[in-house]
């Protein structure tokens, strides 16, 4: 015995419902594909850039509001997360663990935030701040979801003088670069993004290379392209190289700390050394950053 499905007429109520459903989802998928194509192919000058900028500006106050509400929870999570890490690293972090517990007993999240901002201001006013740049302080208000993207959303944009490819730092070191900018917000590609690359220099030896994200890791960096004859040591400080060639110059100012060498190795077959770097910046706990705005650029 066999059974056969009776064909449904598109004019019957059931057939019309199926047709409506397919049309609806087809239209939405098509709309998504059109948006992707327009955004992707037309780059930063495309017709959707303005729309996106206005949309981001409209949504920004909500994001800032939610960020204010979420901050204590985020801090609590940060504490719990660092506590878990501490447990796995025995003696050295046991002391840190105790300190963290004491901090929780005292816990004053507002004080921590103020401290973080004060450090940024001290850095901005201090001698380590790059010459020829003005600081634009910005709160971190979000992170795009996604597997590949390592980025943050900050509450400063075109209105504050932020432009594409402005470098972003904290008192600890280099954070990344502005890759999208709207009127009141900007997207910062972190150094740990798979597309990020910074020309860098070993402060002790002068060995140069390109700092890249170490594939398959979350927050580890590598210094690529270091010649075999350069003598790298564990603990060497890596900073931005900040080169200039004619009218072309590096996106990053010279001398911004990136991290320190944690390990290095070389094989007979590789052309260059493998140098691993631990970044100074804790990319998972960014609350506020400074955008470096070139002083010569009109606001």
């Amino acid at each position: 015995m066999t059974v056969r499905r009776i064909p449904v007429s598109p004019l019957s109520p059931r057939g019309a419902g199926a047709l409506r459903r397919r049309l609806a989802v087809g239209a939405l998928v098509l709309a998504s594909l059109v948006l992707i194509t327009l955004t992707y192919r037309s780059g930063d000058d495309g017709p959707l850039t303005g729309v996106q900028s206005v949309g981001a500006s409209v949504l920004r106050p909500f994001a800032v509001g939610f960020e204010r509400i979420a901050q204590p929870f985020r801090d609590g999570y940060g504490w719990a997360d660092s506590l878990l890490d501490a447990r796995s690293e025995a003696e050295r972090l046991r002391a840190e663990n105790r300190e963290l517990r004491q901090r929780v007993i005292q816990s004053d999240f507002a004080r921590q935030e103020n401290e973080s901002l004060r450090r940024l201001f001290e850095y901005a006013d201090g001698p380590r701040f790059p010459e020829d740049f003005d600081p634009v302080g910005a709160e971190v208000i979000g992170r795009p979801p996604g597997v590949f993207t390592r980025a943050i959303l900050i509450a400063a944009g075109i209105d504050d003088g932020v432009r594409l490819e402005d470098a972003v730092v904290t008192a600890d070191g280099l954070v990344g670069i502005v890759t999208r900018v709207a009127n009141g917000s900007a997207r910062v590609q972190l150094l740990t993004d798979q597309d990020a690359a910074v020309s860098a220099i070993d402060l002790r030896t002068g060995a140069t290379g390109i700092v890249l994200h170490a594939r398959g890791t979350r927050e580890t960096l590598v210094l690529d392209g270091v010649r075999k004859q350069d003598v790298i040591r564990k603990g060497d400080e890596i900073v931005t190289a900040g080169w200039r060639a004619g009218s072309l110059s590096s996106l990053y100012p010279k001398g911004i700390p990136i991290g320190e060498v944690t390990s290095f190795s070389q094989t007979d077959t590789d052309l260059f050394q493998q140098v691993q770097i631990e970044p100074y910046v804790d990319f998972g706990a960014l609350d506020a950053v400074i955008v470096l705005r070139p002083s010569e650029r009109p606001q």
């Binding site: 015995m1 066999t2 059974v3 056969r4 499905r5 009776i6 449904v8 059931r14 409506r20 459903r21 609806a24 989802v25 939405l28 998928v29 709309a31 998504s32 594909l33 059109v34 948006l35 992707i36 194509t37 327009l38 955004t39 992707y40 996106q52 949309g55 981001a56 949504l59 920004r60 909500f62 994001a63 939610f66 960020e67 979420a70 929870f73 999570y77 997360d81 208000i141 979000g142 992170r143 795009p144 979801p145 996604g146 597997v147 590949f148 993207t149 980025a151 959303l153 999208r180 900018v181 709207a182 917000s185 900007a186 997207r187 798979q194 597309d195 594939r215 398959g216 979350r218 998972g284």
Partner: protein, 175 residues
């Protein structure tokens, strides 16, 4: 869906999108972060059917892409398909299952993760497939499974369940 329910559903979705961008994406545990927005869209699809799921998925994706200045349409595409699939599943073979929210969230999280990898590859992102599927996906899946039922209950309290059952297809017996 009447206007009041539509507004309530939109509000739930908006709050979920904001929470996702502002805090949930930062909650990285063992390499992966929960996807509250995906879970919410799946819950809406299960409660309101395939078309509503697709529409809410599209809108949610648009909010995220606008707010985070990402490539417009990428998140919309993933969430549209997620909402549609969840709704379609409950309209057909998923009906009456007690664990429907958990099953749907589990399956859709894996499919959405794989689809995001393919999409990233097509858009010339530097796709680390192993990192995405081995390091990030399992903890994200686990976190989403934990969130699935509580989020479903919250969304159901805001948006009433529609009778999304579709009559079984008619067949004739051939002797």
């Amino acid at each position: 869906m009447n206007a009041a329910e539509g507004l309530r559903a939109s509000a739930v979705l908006f709050v979920a999108a904001m929470l996702q961008v502002v805090i949930v994406s930062s909650l990285v545990v063992v390499g992966g972060a929960p996807d509250l927005l995906l879970v919410t869209v799946v819950a809406l699809g299960l409660l309101r059917g395939s078309v509503a799921g697709a529409v809410f998925g599209f809108a949610a994706g648009l909010i995220v892409d606008l707010l985070t200045l990402e490539t417009l349409g990428v998140t919309s595409l993933v969430l549209t398909l997620a909402g549609f699939w969840a709704g379609r599943w409950i309209e057909t073979t998923g009906r009456g299952r007690r664990l429907a929210p958990v099953i749907a969230v589990g399956v859709i999280t894996v499919l959405a993760g794989a689809f995001a990898v393919v999409l990233g590859y097509m858009l010339e992102e530097d796709v680390a497939v192993r990192h995405a599927l081995v390091t990030v996906l399992p903890p994200t899946l686990l976190a989403n499974l934990v969130l699935a039922y509580p989020v479903y209950v919250v969304v159901r309290s805001a948006v009433h369940e529609r009778d999304v059952l579709e009559p079984a297809p008619e067949v004739e017996v051939l002797v």
